[in-house]
């Protein structure tokens, strides 16, 4: 099973090679992949029908409990078959549809990655591995939406879909991690045992909301639905495959899978029922006014996804059973309709339904597909879509307290969808012939055979529901409710759902016949822009970017003095804060007392006079108006410090200090000659601010040092050791020298390297500038 899932990735790697070998048959050759996957999954059907579950285990990252464990039960198998089956049709279709495109190679790469990932999503039993595949579907979808990437619109749509679905994916990841922490397992099949732990946990609402953000974004539920119509920028086979039949159902899939794990609560019902119902109603209404064939279909897809979500929200056995049938029917008819739209686009060069009609004259097979698929979508007897709709009505009627609400919106949406199906699958083929292109002729068999199969399957599975889809859908239902079962039949007797169906058809027909006035009516409903979630996306997107710009201009403003200012301020905050926060005022004062006591005890006239001179010199350096005087007074400070070294018995240090001081003063003076005149640039306010920072920084340093020196050294082992061994082992009488060249010789080597590199660097800098002829 691992190989089956990974085969798509492997094939993706060799797609360029196959096209290099033979461009003409490459597409057809590649469609063997989904076909063999379909057959592979089909072989599990007898086992699944016998009530078995097939589990395989592959240890991938055991330390993180991420393993490639795959499971085949009824639901997973149903999805795997849909994915590989439709995949086969789409692969074949695209080989003709994109035959002339130069981007056919990346198309097959991306779609193979997608198919593999999607199979991973629906057969993985480990939530984290599932998430890996989940994100890969988002990425491959991104690459496919941006197929025509020279166009700004495509790039916008691709980025939008990625940000929405990958962002949702991250929310899903968060919920999966937290669920894993609570349940202690990442295996879906083991999680339902922790159902009560999860729903009674204080974090349950957050977990559920995060989870639903993940599934809603993927399955285009309000308020995240807007990316799906925009995703129609992708080539039509992609829209048919990813954005109606498979990927957008991943969210729905996960919600059914998690019904026994997170479901069964009021919150679950209200969030799914509410958002699903609203999405169903809103999207089906929006669909009515679309003129682009693909956008028409996209909005109806969103509406159907809303229906599915609502059914999962209602959550009973009936609801899930209805949902499975509805989903199955939708995959067939919507796939067929999208592929039909692709043929129309391909042949006439337009997708605007106002510009085409009567196409059946030149596209007879396509017309047949369109009509059959649309009839199933409209819920006309005896298509499978009819059974799905009947079950939807039945469930809505039984939904208890709020059944009136649910049945009303279900019927309104069904009426809308009825009209939309007619607009997209029937009207283009009838009436007077009209087409912008003159060379309309029937598409090759690679493009028609698949949709024909879908359309016929929709009819056959409806007519003989009891003997065809009944078995597998029952098993799919049982993977959620083990003891439930349903019996599919076309005719349930004369009951309320049938009456409502009749009503749907009558009102739907009125809608179909009066398209123009209906659209005019809908257009009249003016809703302010800022109510549209797609606008919210733009607001959030642009808002984040503006905020990013402001914060970055503020922080990274290009002025070195602000950088230093900020660093010092943070130092004062953290170091100063912890100094006063963690040391009692008693111990600080005590330290001061000790050091003052000590200083007074050992002080003499040299110390005092030197101290005063240092102070005067530094204040003078601060206040001086000329560079030369400032440097000279800094020189005085340096020289006096070397005197302090002498008094405290470190002549080596004093010598070093003095020579460095002298050298730097000389260098300064030399450079000074080249510099412009001295100005006071800063305002009084900034100078005061700088003074405060400088004083705070200096005082914190001073206080820490007083504090530390007052409490003395904890351990003097190191200096004692140096004193004892420097002559005996190090053979040197001057301890400082022995430390420098022996005990810590490696430091000295490093410092020598620093000096040599500085020399090399300066030399190269100067020479390279001269050579470059720059200033």
């Amino acid at each position: 099973m691992l190989i089956a899932v990974l085969s798509g990735f492997i094939v993706a790697c060799i797609v360029p090679l196959i096209f290099k070998l033979n461009r003409k048959v490459a597409g057809a050759l590649l469609s063997i992949l989904p076909l063999s996957l379909f057959i592979f999954y089909l072989q599990f059907l007898p086992n699944v029908l016998a009530g078995e579950k097939i589990l395989t285990t592959f240890y991938w990252i055991p330390s993180l409990k991420i393993n490639l464990n795959f499971m085949i039960d009824g639901l997973n198998l149903l999805f795997a078959l849909i994915i590989s089956g439709i995949g086969f049709v789409v692969y074949l279709y695209a080989s003709a549809y994109l035959a002339k495109s130069e981007k056919i190679v990346p198309f097959y790469i991306y779609i193979s990655i997608f198919m593999a990932s999607m199979l991973g999503v629906v057969t993985c039993n480990n939530t984290l591995a599932l998430f890996v595949f989940w994100e890969l579907t988002s990425i491959s979808s991104f690459l496919l939406i941006g197929f025509n990437h020279e166009q700004e619109r495509s790039r916008y749509a691709a980025l939008q879909s990625l940000l929405v679905t990958a962002g949702g994916g991250l929310a899903l990841l968060a919920s999966v991690i937290i669920i894993g922490q609570i349940a202690g397992t990442y295996e879906i099949s083991q999680m339902s045992a922790f159902h009560s732990n999860l729903i009674n946990n204080a974090l349950y609402p957050s977990i559920l909301i995060l989870f639903l953000i993940g599934t809603f974004t993927k399955s285009a539920q309000f308020p995240f639905h807007f990316w799906l119509p925009n995703a129609m920028e992708a080539p039509t086979p992609v829209s048919a495959y990813l954005h109606s039949a498979t990927m957008v159902k991943a969210g729905v899939f996960l919600m059914i899978k998690f019904l026994p794990i997170l479901g069964g609560t009021e919150l679950w019902m209200w969030l799914l029922g509410g958002f699903g119902g609203w999405t169903m109603l809103m999207a089906s209404t929006m669909a009515l006014k679309q003129t682009d064939l693909k956008r028409l279909l996209a909005y109806s897809t969103v509406s159907v996804l809303g229906t599915l979500t609502m059914l999962i929200g209602l959550g009973g056995e009936k609801a899930i059973s209805a949902m499975i049938i509805y989903l199955f029917a939708h995959s067939l008819y919507k796939g067929a309709l999208f592929l039909t739209a692709g043929i129309i686009d391909h042949e006439t060069g337009t997708r605007d339904i106002r510009n085409i009609s009567g196409l059946r004259k030149y596209l007879p097979i396509t017309a047949l597909i369109g009509v059959l698929a649309a009839l199933s979508g409209m819920g006309i007897i005896p298509f499978i879509g009819f059974i799905g709709k009947e079950m939807l009505y039945e469930t809505a009627l039984l939904s208890g307290q709020y059944s009136t609400l649910f049945i009303t919106i279900s019927v309104i949406s069904a009426v809308n969808i009825f009209a939309v199906m007619a607009y997209s699958g029937i009207l283009p083929f009838f009436g007077e012939y009209k087409s912008p292109s003159e060379h309309v002729h029937e598409a090759p068999f690679q493009m028609t055979s698949g949709p024909v199969a879908f359309a016929l399957l929709g009819l056959v599975s409806g007519l003989f529901a009891g003997s065809t889809v009944d078995g597998l859908t029952n098993k799919a239902l049982q993977s959620i409710f083990p003891s439930a079962s349903h019996h599919l039949a076309l005719f349930h007797g004369f009951n309320l759902p049938l009456l409502l169906s009749a009503l749907t058809i009558v009102v739907g027909l009125i809608f179909v016949l009066n398209r123009k006035s209906l659209v005019e009516f809908i257009e009249k409903i003016r809703i302010p822009e800022y109510f549209f979630p797609s606008k919210w996306y733009d607001y959030i997107f642009n808002g984040t970017l503006s905020f990013a710009e402001i914060q970055t201009k503020f922080l990274q403003n290009g002025h070195l003095r602000y950088y230093i200012f900020t660093i010092l301020a943070l130092f004062i905050l953290l170091v100063g804060g912890s100094f006063f926060g963690f040391n009692t005022s008693g111990s600080i004062l005590n330290a001061f007392a000790i050091s003052i006591e000590r200083s007074i005890a050992g002080i003499d006239i040299y110390d005092i006079s030197m101290l005063i001179t240092v102070l005067i010199a530094s204040v003078f350096a601060l206040l001086s108006q000329g560079r030369l005087s400032a440097i000279a007074s800094m020189g005085i400070v340096g020289a006096l410090i070397s005197l302090i070294y002498i008094i405290y018995g470190a002549p080596d240090l004093a010598m070093t200090q003095l020579s460095i001081e002298t050298l730097s003063v000389i260098l300064f003076v030399l450079v000074l000659y080249k510099l412009p005149r001295f100005f006071t640039y800063s305002k009084l306010k900034t100078r005061i601010r700088d003074l405060v920072i400088a004083l705070a920084f200096g005082s914190i340093f001073t206080m820490i040092i007083i504090f530390v020196s007052a409490y003395g050294k904890f351990d003097t082992g190191l200096s004692e050791y140096f004193a004892q061994t420097s002559y005996l082992i190090g053979h040197g009488k001057n301890i400082v020298n022995v430390i420098l060249v022996d005990f810590r010789g490696f430091d000295t080597m490093g410092e020598i390297t620093v000096l040599s590199i500085a020399a090399v660097g300066v030399y190269s800098l100067l020479r390279l500038r001269k050579q470059g002829g720059e200033q």
Partner: protein, 503 residues
């Protein structure tokens, strides 16, 4: 036997000196440098294996026993850093063969590169706090020369900011070491780790912890101390900014990991909470910075900052999974980030600019380059199953385990914005059609010599392969990171290895 521990430091110095003798002979330097980096890589692999199998190793330099002399100590964290530095040094050396201009090669580019690697490796290897300061200086002066080499105005401006802010860090560091020595009488890190818990005054330990947090924080480019990084990284040639992007900040991150797992662990509730807060701000601030940029390398530079946040977050959590996540993150990040800079350099080589506005249409001409960009870019964006995802995931789970839900939220949000930035580059550079007015000055790959192309692409493919390998097979790397975390969270292992069980 343990003398070999000195090799990652001494050997680059040796090559550097040899190359100085061939100052006028560019091609000899090129050969020596490439060979030398290869040998360093082999050495590093051997050493890592050695430490992994035989435990923490010490080298007492001049045979002065710890804590009296300087020592080199190699635990698994050290070896991670040494190994990845050798990988990056090797890749950069090859990449330089294809991209470095002749003038820079004439003026000591290769010796400076080797000395910088010496400084980097020294900082990782040393077990002595003052010695670490020395290596920081070696690193600073050589990297400064590399940034400034060429002397363009923008370069010098960046270099000045770089060197001044880093000198500020160094001064804080050396004063901090001085004060710490004043309190404890020790410089050896294991010795410090042993003495600090015995100090009578706990308050001063926290003060010193903050002292080092600021000093190393500047080096590691955490919020709000990162200014030098975006100011300088986009100015030097691609090879230089690539190795900078990979290694320099990570020296600071390493230092933080070292001192905040070994030395300043007496009041974790205080110190590490501050680290977590800073980590979150670093992630956010860096990623927002990247979102506002429209220049290839500046976007990448800001992302270094936000990624540092993830590593520091792992440290701040101070749990086995957190530290392991941090270590894993460092390793993954260095490889990915260096590679992205390599790719940016190739794009610049072809199109003559780093500005997203002027770029475009690269995918159509060079689909392979597109793939080689996507692998590290999506990895950086945390797309599974690439290396970056496991890194982010590990840190995120560690945050959840500790109940740091805010950190989880921030890390996921920042992940999304990172992905956005990478897609922005992808859209603008690879997908968009280049505007005709900017298309004039470009050259095509065919016009370039074959050798140059090979030397440009080989290191990119090499690093992308590593990224893919980690991504598809993270288990051994995670196990390694877990072991490293185990060592870090049990300082007694380190202390015993350095000072011996008896002390």
């Amino acid at each position: 036997m343990n003398s070999i521990l000195a090799m990652p430091v001494v050997f680059p110095l040796f090559i550097g000196i040899i190359m100085l003798f061939f100052w006028k002979h560019r091609s000899i330097q090129r050969i020596i440098n490439a060979l030398g980096s290869t040998i360093t890589l082999v050495l590093a692999i051997y050493l890592t294996w050695y430490v992994k199998t035989s435990g923490i190793q010490c080298l007492y330099i001049g045979a002065w026993k710890a804590p009296f002399g300087i020592i080199f100590t190699a635990d698994l964290l050290t070896m991670t850093m040494i190994l990845v530095s050798a990988i990056i040094g090797f890749a950069t050396s090859i990449y330089s063969l294809g991209t470095m201009d002749e003038t820079r090669e004439h003026f000591g580019y290769y010796p400076l590169l080797q000395i910088m690697i010496m400084g980097i490796n020294g900082s990782f290897m040393t077990g002595d706090l003052f010695n670490m300061f020395v290596w920081f200086e070696v690193l600073l002066i050589s990297s400064f020369s590399l940034v400034a080499l060429g002397g363009k105005r923008s370069q010098l401006e960046g270099a000045i900011k770089y060197v001044i802010l880093n000198l500020l860090s160094s001064s804080l560091f050396v004063v901090g070491v001085g004060i710490l020595y004043g309190i404890t009488g020790g410089l050896n890190m294991a010795d410090l780790a042993r003495k600090i818990p015995m100090l009578p005054n706990k308050g001063i330990v926290n003060v010193m912890a903050m002292f080092f947090l600021v000093s190393f924080g500047i080096k590691a480019a955490i919020f709000p101390l990162f200014f030098w990084l975006p100011a300088s990284y986009h100015t030097p040639p691609a090879a230089v900014s690539a190795i900078f992007a990979g290694m320099l900040t990570k020296v600071g991150v390493y230092a933080l990991f070292r001192v905040f797992t070994l030395i300043f662990v007496t009041d974790v509730a205080f110190t590490h909470t501050i680290i977590i807060i800073i980590a979150m701000l670093t992630m956010l601030s860096g990623v927002l910075g990247a979102a506002s940029q429209m220049e290839f390398r500046r976007i990448l530079s800001f992302h270094i900052i936000s990624q540092i946040g993830y590593m520091i977050l792992g440290l701040g959590l101070m749990t086995p999974l957190g530290i392991a996540g941090g270590v894993f993150y460092i390793f993954h990040h260095i490889i990915v980030k260096t590679n992205l800079f390599f790719v940016s350099g190739v794009v610049n080589e072809l199109k003559g600019t780093y500005l997203l506005k002027k770029l475009g249409g690269v995918l159509k001409l060079y689909p392979l380059l597109g793939l080689l960009f996507l692998i590290p870019a999506l990895s950086l964006g945390g797309v599974p199953p690439l290396s970056g995802f496991w890194a982010k995931y590990t840190v995120a789970v560690a945050a959840v385990e500790k109940g740091e839900y805010l950190a989880l939220a921030v890390s996921l949000f920042v992940g999304l914005l990172t992905l956005f930035s990478m897609i922005k580059i992808w859209n603008e550079v690879f997908w968009k059609e280049q505007k005709a007015e900017f298309a004039a000055e470009q050259q095509t790959l065919r016009q370039l010599p074959k050798f140059k192309i090979a030397m440009m692409f080989a290191p990119i493919i090499f690093l992308a392969a590593i990224t893919l390998f980690i991504g598809l097979n993270p288990e051994p790397f995670l196990n390694y990171a877990n072991e490293a975390a185990h060592q870090l969270l049990n300082p007694s292992i380190y202390i015993n290895a350095v000072l011996g069980g008896a002390q």
